[in-house]
Symmetry: C2
């Protein structure tokens, strides 16, 4: 799949899975909702401040900013399978205009956020590589 098509499929997907790694080389993986803009992927931590501070994904990013993000389609008709993977570098945005813009993008993509926007930190992933595959080219 070419890069343009991969980026389109990434941006349109409703859910992604984020892999992070801790300082001992142990991988961690979580599903998340996200938005894409200007070569970056944004995701937010929901409104659980005390728990958020201890979230494994955040501790891992602090220890090792290299992350991988996957969106894919599964179908029992295997000719419909495809996936797009991002390799990137993550950082955490806690406050300010960048945080506000990310939350706005997320609420634009997900009406579910509009009544109850996230109040936790934002994870910003700079896309450094993108690869895609589709069973039916």
């Amino acid at each position: 799949m070419d890069q343009k098509r991969s980026l389109q499929r990434l941006a349109a997907a409703r859910v992604a899975r984020l892999a992070t790694v801790d300082s001992s080389g142990l991988p961690h993986i979580v599903p998340l909702v996200f938005a894409v803009a200007d070569g970056k992927v944004y995701s937010a931590v929901d409104h659980k401040p005390k728990r958020s501070a201890n979230l494994k994904r955040l501790a891992n990013i602090a220890a090792n900013p290299r992350v991988a993000l996957l969106v894919d389609q599964y179908d029992d008709d295997w000719s419909q399978l495809w996936w797009v993977r991002i390799d990137g570098s993550a950082c955490v945005i806690e406050t300010g205009t960048a945080w506000e813009q990310a939350v706005e993008m997320l609420a634009h993509k997900y009406p579910q956020y509009r009544g109850q926007p996230p109040t936790g930190v934002v994870i910003e992933i700079t896309i450094e590589g993108i690869s895609g595959w589709a069973a039916t080219p």
Copy 2:
């Protein structure tokens, strides 16, 4: 979600995402089909022998056997969200009875494999930890 329910949801899921880590701490993530039996997860590499030997997931497992595996349900009704994550240790089975049994299990779960069973190596993940979460308990 309790462990029994988490294991049920894991076993019933059609697709999982596997996170592995290379020797430099870089994460990798792929979707895969899989079967669960006796505290282990099995997945096979399809019939592309030359390419398989260089698959990033296999190189990563050789360098670092610690893996994480995720199954999850996304729905725009966020009360329906859930996920189950496995922490485990992976190894590669290339031939023999264990390989044959794993391929048989996969073909049992996925009719798609019956006409064209996988001929590549099998990844065996020993489940060392399981955690689950559901928006609606």
